[in-house]
């Protein structure tokens, strides 16, 4: 999957161009508009948005509470939204604690807070991850280099067309002196999905 850089990929690229040309003839797509829309989308939706939300939650208990209660409403306080996609989906934010860790998957396809974080990583969409993380999350986390203590329970959230999930990792120890921006730099996309500690 995805590793074919030879003839098949070239032919696929040609077929995509061909269909795009058909749609252009019919006035259904405008290549320039597609490029502009894509550029604007990628500039707006990326993992930094999630990192900023997490950092704010770490430093502001009131925001943290609002974020966990109603993600869609609270994220506006940080200037981001779930509305950049085709239809706004519910954002459910879940928080890791000393006793519970959260991991997100979409077993049926690839549901993810795309409007907020941009396209998901390829592994997230793979059958390998989708099939296994619901059955044996601990070993999947270990494979990602994240050895979660046995005492910590794992909750796996299966995203759907209507509801997308975002994980608030635990604030690392020794970060008391960091400001919100420096804290955001610590947060990774893997952390927001729950396959990394932060």
């Amino acid at each position: 999957m995805g590793g074919d850089h030879g003839g098949a990929a070239a032919s696929l690229a040609a077929r995509v161009r061909h269909v795009e040309a058909l749609l252009e003839q019919r006035g259904l797509v405008d290549p320039l508009e597609l490029d502009r829309a894509l550029e604007a989308f990628l500039a707006r939706a990326n993992p930094d948005n999630g990192a900023r939300l997490v950092a704010r939650a770490w430093v502001d208990p009131g925001f943290r509470a609002r974020l966990l209660l109603d993600g869609n409403a609270a994220i506006g306080e940080v200037g981001v939204s779930m509305g950049g996609g085709l239809q706004e989906q519910r954002l459910k934010v879940v928080e890791n604690t000393a006793t519970t860790h959260n991991v997100v998957v979409c077993t049926l396809c690839s549901c993810y807070p795309v409007a907020l974080l941009g396209p998901s990583p390829t592994w997230y969409k793979s059958e390998a991850y989708r099939s296994r993380v619901v059955r044996d999350p601990r070993s999947v986390l270990a494979e990602f280099g994240f050895a979660l203590p046995d005492a910590v329970a794992i909750t796996v959230w299966d995203a759907s067309a209507e509801t997308r999930y975002l994980v608030v990792p635990r604030r690392p120890e020794g970060t008391e002196g960091l400001d919100e921006r420096a804290l955001a730099d610590l947060v990774t996309r893997d952390g927001l999905i729950g396959v990394a500690a932060v």
Partner: protein, 94 residues
Amino acid sequence: MGRINDVGGMHGFPPIERELDEPPFHADWEAHVFAMNRALIGRGVYNLDEFRDAVERLPAAEYLAASYYERWFRAITALLVAKGVCTAEEVAGG
């Protein structure tokens, strides 16, 4: 029997492969498929649920053999034909 996309709990898939610093798209055509799909849904040619259904209805062998955006492209072309926007011959004519 469910559709092939319903893989939760299944055994036998290969190991999870990760890529460091993965870009949003790996090729221009993937970005174009993504953008085309947004445009077509935005214009109401089909809706998001129809699109998901079209991906999930791909024959099992085809679904498993295709990359993620290749599935999207197959679903998009199937919907364009089903909606009468293009004929199957036109779509295949590339």
